[in-house]
Symmetry: C2
DNA sequence: CGCCGTTCCGTGACGCGGACAACAAATTCT
DNA sequence: AGAATTTGTTGTCCGCGTCACGGAACGGCG
């Protein structure tokens, strides 16, 4: 796993800061690999054995990691004393991840290492008020923390939302499919739970990109784009190993790229946005899918056999739009999420051909088009990642704000 | 000045690394401010006074900075002993910046702090072979290092090129207006000089963005886009305080965004790229400018009085394209460079109106449209910045690869 | 004009984190 | 089974940043 951390600009490096960074980086490696040997850690981090040992001991003292048998996992290569492993502790810290979809909400309890410990979901009415959805999500959360050992610490809650989220405070500026404007969903959920823990909220495509980068198909790829077809079309961008957020957190809104000025009207007020050609409603129309099944477009497309000319044309439109994205961002990998997964399975060649036709040679030659490695869980796991993030920046501080005994607290 | 530095992924922070980072950061502050007091440094970097003192002493011992009188500069506010200043040393390290335009090359000797010490330029034939241009640039460089004190050290050469530059090795993949393909211009210049110093090459729009971010109109703005109209149209992106490069270094190629599928053919092979509407040739045609003056379009436009309807339409097309850019990148500032400067001066209201019409409300509300603060020198100063960059990462190492006595060496 | 408060510089003592060396332990290769 | 190799552990040292103290320069005030 490679997530480049970014420094605040002009600040110097205090040696205490350096230590916190090192502690967090060790944890990041354990998180990424699930289990890792101390020898591997010394190699990857470029620090001395004894330094690594001290850091690992501190993590163990904090109850985050535990010793593992050396032989476990890889069979071993070469001679020498086998290195003792470091792995995530049972009953270690965990987060709650929420994936708010257009027609259902998924909630999971996820531990370090990305392990889904418990999981629950429920349908959500797309015309529901925010507080109703919040109450439903709170119910799922209560369900998911049932029976959690009291020692385990809740680090935070991460929420994936199909809409524009302001990064400064997590306000949902606009979620078209939920018909929400300026909703402080984090506060609503916390109020419904009666808790106070850190809440991180972000756009679903951004989180999909993050998850695919950390544990999906794009591990080791520092420049990737996750293009997600939900009802709307959005993209999440990882550039140089870091999430591209933009000034307000709205970067990656590719759905309203100018595609065909003579096209049909878009709900944004313009004409011929890309979304009017490859959005769910446009595709549903092209395949004569009833409008109440638009939210399940992925399943509908997955049931298709031979693609009709209309579907082929949609694939071409997808590829042409991707060409713009490839030209502008020059990613190494483009991951197609949401219903684009089954669309690509149907008309992959058309998409590739259209992309190759319109993209510039230089950015085209290094890009690959792939499906997500995490299936439909990308956004959920991405929500877990942003909730875990404070732990990698400063484990001690993050555990300081964490909550213990959440199971009994929410039950009683 | 704020340039966020990025860490390599999983590496731990050696305490030697921390010290180098701190030393470089001090220098970065001095570079940004020109002159700065030690007290200011302690405040900005959050380190102890004595730590700052040690770092400043080391920079002085290296001959990079020197003590300045306290009273100089700001009149002082509040009582107390005035803080001794730190400023860039005379005869300190310098770089050579090259701005390769479509019809002329500008070469400057630039010191730390962004001071242009010497400067020279010459016309360049747009159909020239790369080695001819390289020889001309080498001549300008010889001219610019004339009379340099032997003690001053040449840190590197930075080159700005109107084209696609591969970031891994600085190869110019494509420079349409120079008709270059896969040219290793850095090597050509070094060979013509008979020197061996670090050479950094990058796209002119990228460097314009960097320069405006460091010392231009976008100081303190971490998310900005410099949209440059030269003969082609390109953009440089700073996101989160860091240059957005993309996998190969080609990010920001906005000239070939799909604009009007029914439009005219573009030299890239597609139809209706944005460049066919707001590129130099399109504008020249709209204002009936003779084709041999296309390279001087900026001056031609600056001489205009009342804009004609055709020019107004061009402004609208510019604004519509900028809307796509604002939606996708969500910048806080968009800087219009090249001939877009005089175009904006003519039809600013049309550009703003078209942008407001097509951009999404959320990203629109935080963006401002401005002209460059460095005029036509943005790219040149950006070239100096990338050449200076190693000095801020590790001053000691950068001075190790620097050259002394360049003046006599190139003269003899 | 002289005193005082303020702010800053310089120096030395201290604490801490990381590197290094030496030794013990565990496993593979021959 | 012994040699070789690699790792974990411990103790020591060194470098770096912080803290505390004294001295210095300046403005304000009487």
């Amino acid at each position: 796993m490679v997530v480049t951390t970014r420094r605040r600009p002009g600040l110097g490096t205090n040696q205490e800061l350096a230590r916190r960074h090192n502690l967090g980086t060790v944890l990041r490696h354990v998180h990424g690999a699930g289990q890792i040997s101390r020898a591997e850690l010394t190699g990857r981090m470029g620090l001395n054995r004894s330094t690594i040992a001290a850091l690992v001991n501190e993590l163990e003292a904090l109850g985050i990691t535990e010793r593992a048998l050396p032989a476990e996992g890889i069979p071993r290569q070469g001679a020498g004393r086998p290195s003792a492993g470091v792995r995530i502790a049972e009953d270690g810290p965990f987060v709650i991840a929420v994936d708010l979809g257009v027609d259902r909400a998924v909630v999971a309890r996820i531990g370090l290492g990305g392990r889904v410990l418990q999981r629950s979901q429920a349908p959500v009415r797309s015309d529901g008020e925010a507080w109703q959805v919040g109450a439903a999500v709170a119910g799922l959360i209560r369900c998911v923390v049932e029976g959690v050992p009291d020692a385990a610490q809740l680090v935070g809650i991460g929420i994936s939302v199909p809409g524009l989220v302001r990064n400064s405070d997590g306000l949902i500026r606009l979620a078209p499919n939920l018909e929400w404007h300026d909703v402080s969903f984090g506060g609503i959920v916390l109020a419904a739970l009666g808790l106070d823990v850190p809440v991180s909220i972000a756009n679903d495509a951004d989180l999909g990109a993050l998850a695919e980068h950390v544990r999906g198909v794009a591990v080791g790829v520092d420049d990737l784009i996750y293009v997600s077809g939900n009802v709307g079309v959005g993209a999440g961008v990882i550039a140089g190993g870091v999430r591209l957020e933009g000034a307000g957190g709205y970067a990656g809104e590719v759905g309203h790229l100018r595609f065909n000025p003579a096209g049909r009207e878009c709900h944004c007020g313009n004409r011929g946005c890309w979304e009017t050609e490859v959005g769910a409603h446009a595709i549903a129309e092209a395949i004569h899918c009833p409008s109440d099944k638009v939210a399940q477009l992925d399943e509908v497309l997955a049931g298709f056999g031979e693609p009709s000319p209309a579907v082929r044309a949609t694939g071409t439109a997808l590829g042409h739009g991707l060409a713009d994205i490839v030209n502008v961002f020059n990613p190494r990998q483009v991951v197609l999420g949401g219903y684009f997964r089954s669309l690509y399975a149907l008309v992959g060649p058309e998409v590739e051909a259209a992309l190759a036709d319109r993209a510039l040679p230089a950015p085209l030659e290094s890009v690959t088009l792939t499906l997500p490695g995490l299936g439909s869980d990308s956004s959920l796991l991405g929500a877990a990642e942003i909730a875990l993030e404070p732990l990698f920046v400063d484990p001690v501080a993050a555990l300081g704000t964490a909550l213990v005994g959440v199971g009994t607290r929410l039950a009683g």
